[in-house]
């Protein structure tokens, strides 16, 4: 079923709303108030009742996490587009290097920016209803927008407990990078597509020197710093929070958690713990020519899409043959449509307490749907657009440049997107679970104690969560 979007800010403008349906027959979209200032809506306008002409000239402040010179220029393109489409609107675009303290303070002081573009997924815990960000579902429905304008992962990104707290902007999908040169040398023709193949490859690729020091590691979930330890548990369906963020679900998923952690540990058990630490400590910086994937020290590497530019940038043609495949899951062959891990994403949001919610919404809508300009921006900035129209344009250009992008884009489009779940105590709990995972992988926490440790953690945090929510 294909999905068509017509909105005021993308593609060709019509002077009124439009209804379209595809062959499958069920998708109907009506346009948001369109670009001409004059109210020339076609007689078959459907749901929108806001007349564009009602907006007085307004200046809105937008805080965006884009501060580098090239990105700023490209982002300005999106801003300019929306100012053109909405002549009453002026957007004051302010680049903020670090919003994590400035934004909450501004909201608390009752003087927030009118619009924010940032990467707060799961971090602000402010996807917690009524706190920092306005839910936009009513406005969304009022204007007849369709979530089909965005990839499923994008909708998931802004979702908390059934409400949606903004419109998605970009996603980072994650997949398995593989160094085919190293694989071939070890007698492996193709990248692993199943769990069994992954483990077999890890065993084959492990290279230990005569003196016991490790030369090369086949695969580990992360290089001992726990960066993806937690997120990879989602491969097994191990969740932490209920949808409403009020209950911790670790004990409900205890089997999955244990399975997930045992799966990770088996890779570490292939090696001597101290030697692995020594090896990991000697690794080069991941954003340098010494990067462990580029120089073959870790031929199978799970990482997000942003890494895709490093091999060519630093490696200068080394490794010659490398690629990306979806990360295998426990249930069979890796398939982007079956499971896609999305560690983070970026979205537009309206803080609570803005002066003019309707105006902010108009701007928000326009910016999130400005397909051409978003694509142009991401071609400079490098993240995967969540807006489908933008993604189509981006895909063509990106894949032409780096073919490996295709995998990431397929994963970004996946209907089975999995994103970090969220609650008020998410940050702290994640830190503690990460600690626990690292202890377990190191062998400091035994198999017998693992379940108990997880249960204790849950009990303690449920108490904290109850306190926070007043339950």
């Amino acid at each position: 079923m294909s999905i068509v979007v017509v909105a005021g800010c993308s593609g060709n403008d019509s002077s009124g709303s439009a209804e379209t349906s595809d062959a499958g027959g069920s998708t109907v979209v009506s346009a948001a108030p369109v670009s001409e200032p004059a109210d020339t809506r076609a007689p078959d306008a459907t749901t929108d009742t806001t007349a564009k002409a009602e907006f007085e000239p307004t200046t809105l402040t937008l805080w965006a996490g884009v501060t580098d010179p090239e990105g700023t220029v490209a982002f300005q393109g999106i801003v300019d587009r929306c100012e053109t489409d909405n002549p009453w609107l002026t957007i004051d675009f302010v680049g903020k290097d670090d919003m994590s303290t400035a934004l909450p303070a501004a909201i608390e002081a009752g003087n927030p920016p009118d619009l924010v573009q940032a990467d707060f997924s799961g971090q602000l815990a402010g996807i917690d209803a009524g706190g920092l960000i306005e839910p936009i579902d009513d406005l969304f429905a009022r204007d007849g927008l369709d979530w089909g304008a965005f990839v499923p992962g994008g909708k998931e990104l802004v979702d908390f407990n059934g409400q949606h707290f903004g419109l998605p902007f970009s996603l980072d999908s994650a997949a398995l990078f593989y160094n085919q040169d190293a694989l071939t040398a070890a007698g492996i023709d193709a990248p692993p597509a199943t769990f069994e193949e992954l483990f077999a490859a890890a065993e084959k690729l492990l290279a230990v020197n005569a003196d016991g020091t490790i030369e090369r590691v086949g695969f580990v979930p992360d290089v001992g710093d726990g960066s993806y330890a937690l997120f990879l548990t989602r491969l097994f369906g191990a969740t932490m929070f209920s949808d409403d963020g009020a209950t911790i679900t670790i004990t409900d998923n205890l089997d999955q958690w244990v399975a997930a952690l045992q799966w990770q540990k088996q890779f570490f058990d292939l090696m001597d713990g101290d030697e692995f630490s020594r090896w990991a400590d000697g690794l080069g910086s991941y954003d340098s020519a010494d990067n462990f994937f580029i120089n073959g020290q870790l031929p199978l590497y799970f990482e997000g899409s942003y890494f895709i530019t490093w091999p060519d940038r630093f490696g200068e043609g080394k490794p010659e043959n490398w690629g990306v495949v979806p990360m295998p899951g426990p249930d069979g062959v890796a398939d982007a449509d079956e499971l896609s891990l999305i560690p983070s994403g970026n979205f537009f949001m309206i803080p609570t307490g803005v002066d003019n919610l309707d105006a902010s919404w108009e701007a928000l809508k326009c910016m999130a749907l400005a397909g051409d300009e978003i694509a142009a921006f991401q071609q400079v900035y490098g993240n995967i657009p969540a807006n489908v129209a933008a993604l189509d344009i981006f895909e063509a250009a990106a894949v032409a440049q780096i073919p490996e992008y295709q995998t990431f884009i397929d994963l970004a489009r996946s209907p089975a997107a999995v994103l970090p779940d969220s609650a008020v105590v998410a940050g702290a709990l994640r830190d503690e679970v990460s600690s626990l995972i690292l202890d377990y992988r190191r062998g400091d926490l035994s198999d017998d104690d693992l379940r108990g440790a997880l249960e204790d953690l849950q009990a303690r945090y449920q108490e904290e969560l109850d306190l926070e929510l007043g339950n």
């Binding site: 402010g126 726990g226 400590d281 000697g282 503690e432 990460s434 690292l438 007043g470």
Partner: protein
């Protein structure tokens, strides 16, 4: 006479008094209030009494955080102090070349935490300069920031390297010492060490007191270095790796801040406050015994 004096005192204190009332009083009262509430940004505070404090006490990471912080203070501060005084003592004269040395020692203290963090990662990693150097002596280099036993010493090393600002304070303090005091002691045939012990040290003892107190506050409150160096910075984790050995009190508090839970974070701040206050009062009362001042202060 007394009234005029009172006005004088008030006049002299006025900048601070006004500043406190305008800029500091409201935030302090707010934070105290919030420590007894559940409070998140943008939402009204909800009273929970001692709930946050109880929660804090139940946190198993608390004792480790306090221990780590105490370790960094008890070991790190004296080392910093000693080397800073030593360097200042050696360089307090207008000798040729001293200026260059002083500058050299000062530079590390003005580097941004990220730069010095990256620098030390490079220096201390396996196969890096320090490891190679130790190898020359046949010593196997520890894993520093990946070894729970060595992570804190490594952090102390970084802190000591950046002691230039403390050295600066001692330089200023040493320059102030009048020559007459030295000459008086020299007459009695005192040696170098005696001069140091009976003239220099007492004269800079107020400054030493300052360094200790602000050092303690610094260890309790700062998390920049530890955060960068505990490899948490990349993924935003506050696990205090390795093995929680770098989890400081301030990092633990940061966990609550990052979730926007200002209530608990404020409670932690006030606990920090109490600890500091106790240490301050202890230092101040004991100071009568070891701090020399030239005025007859109580």
């Amino acid at each position: 006479m007394a009234r005029r004096k009172r006005w004088t005192v008030l006049a002299f204190l006025s900048p601070w008094l006004i500043g406190v009332v305008v800029f500091v009083l409201y935030p302090i009262i707010n934070s105290l209030y919030w420590s007894f509430t559940v409070k998140r940004y943008g939402q009204p505070a909800r009273w929970v009494g001692l709930g946050n404090y109880r929660l804090l006490l139940d946190n198993p990471d608390l004792s480790m955080a306090l221990k780590n912080t105490a370790y960094l203070a008890v070991l790190g501060l004296p080392i910093r102090l000693f080397i800073a005084i030593l360097a200042a003592a050696l360089l307090a004269r207008p000798r040729r070349g001293n200026g260059a040395y002083r500058l050299l020692f000062y530079v590390p203290s003005v580097l941004p935490a990220v730069a010095s963090g990256a620098l030390f990662f490079f220096l201390l990693k396996q196969g890096g300069p320090v490891a190679s150097l130790l190898d020359l002596f046949g010593i196997e280099a520890p894993l520093w920031f990946r070894d729970p036993d060595w992570a804190k010493p490594a952090l102390i090393m970084v802190g000591t390297w950046a002691l230039g600002d403390v050295m600066l304070i001692f330089l200023a303090g040493l320059v102030d010492i009048p020559r007459s005091l030295y000459e008086a002691v020299e007459i009695d045939g005192a040696g170098r060490w005696a001069r140091f012990r009976y003239v220099t040290l007492p004269m800079i003892s107020p400054v030493i007191f300052f360094t200790i107190l602000t050092g303690v506050i610094g260890v309790l409150q700062s998390f920049d270095q530890a955060f960068v160096l505990s490899q948490g910075a990349r993924k935003g984790r506050l696990t205090g790796e390795p093995d929680g050995s770098l989890l400081t009190y301030a990092m633990l508090q940061l966990r609550y801040f990052q979730d926007g839970r200002i209530g608990v974070a404020s409670a932690m701040a006030w606990v920090m406050f109490l600890i500091t206050l106790v240490i301050t009062v202890a230092l101040m009362t004991s100071r009568k015994r070891w701090v020399h001042t030239s005025t007859e202060n109580a």
